[in-house]
Symmetry: C2
Subunit: 379 residues, 2 copies
Amino acid sequence: MKFTIDREEFVQGVQHVNRAISPRSTINVLTGIKIEADTDGLTLIGSDSDISIQSFIPVADEEKEYLQIEQPGSVVLQAKYFVDIVKKLPGDTIEIEVQEQFAATVRSGAVVFNLNGLDPEEYPRLPKLEEDQSFKIPQHLLKDMIRQTVFAVSSQETRPVLTGVNLEIEEGKMTFTATDSHRLAMRSAEVETDASLSLSNIVIPGKSLTELSRIMDDAEDLIEVVVTETQVLFKFDRLMFFSRLLDGKYPVTKNMVPTQTKTDVTLERNDLVQALERALLLSREAKNNVINVKTAGDALIEITSVSAEIGKVQENIEVASLNGEDLRISFNGKNILDALKVIDSDVISIQFTGAMSPFVVRPQDHDQMLHLFSPVRTY
Amino acid sequence: MKFTIDREEFVQGVQHVNRAISPRSTINVLTGIKIEADTDGLTLIGSDSDISIQSFIPVADEEKEYLQIEQPGSVVLQAKYFVDIVKKLPGDTIEIEVQEQFAATVRSGAVVFNLNGLDPEEYPRLPKLEEDQSFKIPQHLLKDMIRQTVFAVSSQETRPVLTGVNLEIEEGKMTFTATDSHRLAMRSAEVETDASLSLSNIVIPGKSLTELSRIMDDAEDLIEVVVTETQVLFKFDRLMFFSRLLDGKYPVTKNMVPTQTKTDVTLERNDLVQALERALLLSREAKNNVINVKTAGDALIEITSVSAEIGKVQENIEVASLNGEDLRISFNGKNILDALKVIDSDVISIQFTGAMSPFVVRPQDHDQMLHLFSPVRTY
C-alpha cells in the first residue's frame, strides 16, 4: 500500500473513527485503526465491537483532490499513538507506505515515522445491513434528541436494557425514551419515512448515542438511520456509525405519565435552575440530593434543603402561576436539574399529583418533550 | 458580628484566601475562612500553616462604598461550601450575621443560608514580620520569574530543599534558581532595594510560588517582598501572602554552569518544540523520554527517538548556525520541552560541552535566563 493524502482531511477521518476505539480492548487488532486504500479512495475503520465507525475519503470531490493512491492495500495501525502522530505532522500532506510485515512508513515534511503495523486480515468485517427499515432525520434534530434524553439512562448494569435509549416510530413520529426507574425523559419529533414504518423496542446503548453525538454538528442535512434486529446504522455523507442494539424488553412507559394534576406551577426555568444549584450545595454534601418544595401563597414556592454538617438554606421563588392544592414534596434535586438543563424553553410547567406521586416537568412552548420524576420520602 | 457587603468584592476576597486552604487539613479550624469585621473594614484569612493569605476589604475607597458594618466581630466558616455559596448568591450585596454558638446567617436576595460556624479564637495568629529585609518588584516580573523557574523544582521529598526555589539578592540583582538535580532553571532581574541588601539561601516552597502566581496578574504595580529567617511575605495592595521558608542548605549552583563550549547551535525555538513534541510521542510510551540528537552537516541537526512497541521517528531541523565539533547526545526531551515553553524568545542557543557533559539552553536576545541539563547515557 502506498498513498499521499491531504493532512487535514486525514486527521479529521482518523479522529472520527478513533471515537469507537477502546485502548483497553482485549482484542489486540481492535486497538488499531484499519486503513484501506483502493482506487475510489481511502476507508478508515475503528471499532470496539459495540460501536464501529467507518470514514471514507474520496480521491477527489468537486472542490479538491484529497488523495493519490500509488498502490492499493491495507494495514492496521495502533490508534493510541497514530492519532497524536498525524495531528503533529508538519506538512500539508502525508505519505504512507506499507512494506513487509506490516511495517508502515509515514512521511510528512522533514519527518519520518516508522511504525509497527498489524495484519488487516485479522480485522473483523463490519455488519452488512439490509436497508428495508430506514428513515431520515436532520442531523441537528437527532443531536438535540440525544442530548435531551441520554442523560436519563441508567448507569447500573442490573437492568441492562435501561442503560439504553428506546426508539419508537409510529405514524411518522419518532420517540426517544430513557429512564433509570427514578426519572424518565421523553422526546419526540416528526421524521421522513414511509408511513407504514412502525418500530418499537429498538434500544440503543446510551454510550453509543453519546459517541454519535460527539461526531455530529448542528447541520441541517439529513442522516439516514437503518434499523435491523441487532444493529442500528447512522449514515452520514462520508461516515457510517454502527451500534449494536440492547437485548431485552424495554418497559412500557406510556401509562406511567399521570393524566390528571392536583397542583400546577408555571415558572421561569432559570429561576428554578439557580435555586436548585444553591440548595444542592448543601444536600450534595449530605449525598442524597434531597430538596424540599412547598407552595407558599398565591405565587410563591419555597425551596429548602438541610445538611447536618453545614447548615440549611431556604429561599422563595416567584412563579408565573400556581393553581390547585397546597403541596409539600421532596425530590432528588440533581435529577430535576439535569432535565432543566436540556430544556431549551425559558418557561416550564410542573404538574404535581400529590406528595407521594410522580410529577411531570414540561417546556411551556411545545409538547414534544416531557420529564417524569418520582418524589422521595423524607420521613 | 453583622455586616452588609458588595457581593463581587466579597467573592473575590473569599476566592483569594481560599487558595491557601487545604480541605484535608487535620487542624479543623484551618478548613475554614476566618472573617473579621472591624470599623476599618473586613479581613479574610485562609491558611494551611505553610501558606497564609489575608485579604482586606475597606469600608470604602475613592470609587465606591463596599461595606456597612453594623456590629464588629469575627467567625470562621467552612471554606469548602462557603466559596460556592457566595458565588451562587443572587443579590448585589450579601448580609452576614453571627449569633450565639457561631451560627451564621447569610442573606442575599430571597435566599437565606444558616451555616454552622467555628470559634474564631481557635484560629492561629498570622506571623508578625520585621520589615528590615525587604525589596520591591513589579507584579508581572515576579509572575514571569516564577513561571520560568518553578517547573524545575524537584517533586521528590528525598531532598526537601530542592522542592523550593532559591532566592538570592546581590547588588540589586535578584536571582531565582530551581533544580531537581537533572535540570536547572535560573532567572534574574534588577529589583528596587537598598544597595546594601544581600540575601542568600532563601528557599521558598515551589507550591507556595505556584499559588502566589495564581493570584497575581500582569500588572505593573510594585509588590513589596519582606524576608525573615523562617518566612517570606508578599505585600499587595489589599492582599498579604505569607509562606514559610524551607530549612536546609541550597546547593551552590553557580559553578555548575560550564564556561566553555564545544558545539554551539542557534535555532528557532518553535522548530525544536515541535520536533520534541513529535519525538516524545514515542519515547513517552517507553517511559524514559529519551531523545537523541546528532549534528548532520553544516546547518542541520537530526532528532530521533525509538520505542520497541510502536516504532521510531527521525527528523532533520534546519538551524540558524552550528559551530564546533560534531556531536551525538541523548537527553530527557520532556525536561528540554518544559524549559523551551517558558522561554519567551523566538530564537535560542544551545552550548554543548560533549556527549557526557551538561549543556546550556538560553534565549538569544537576553542573558537574564539559562537552563542547564544533564545528558542521559543510552548504552
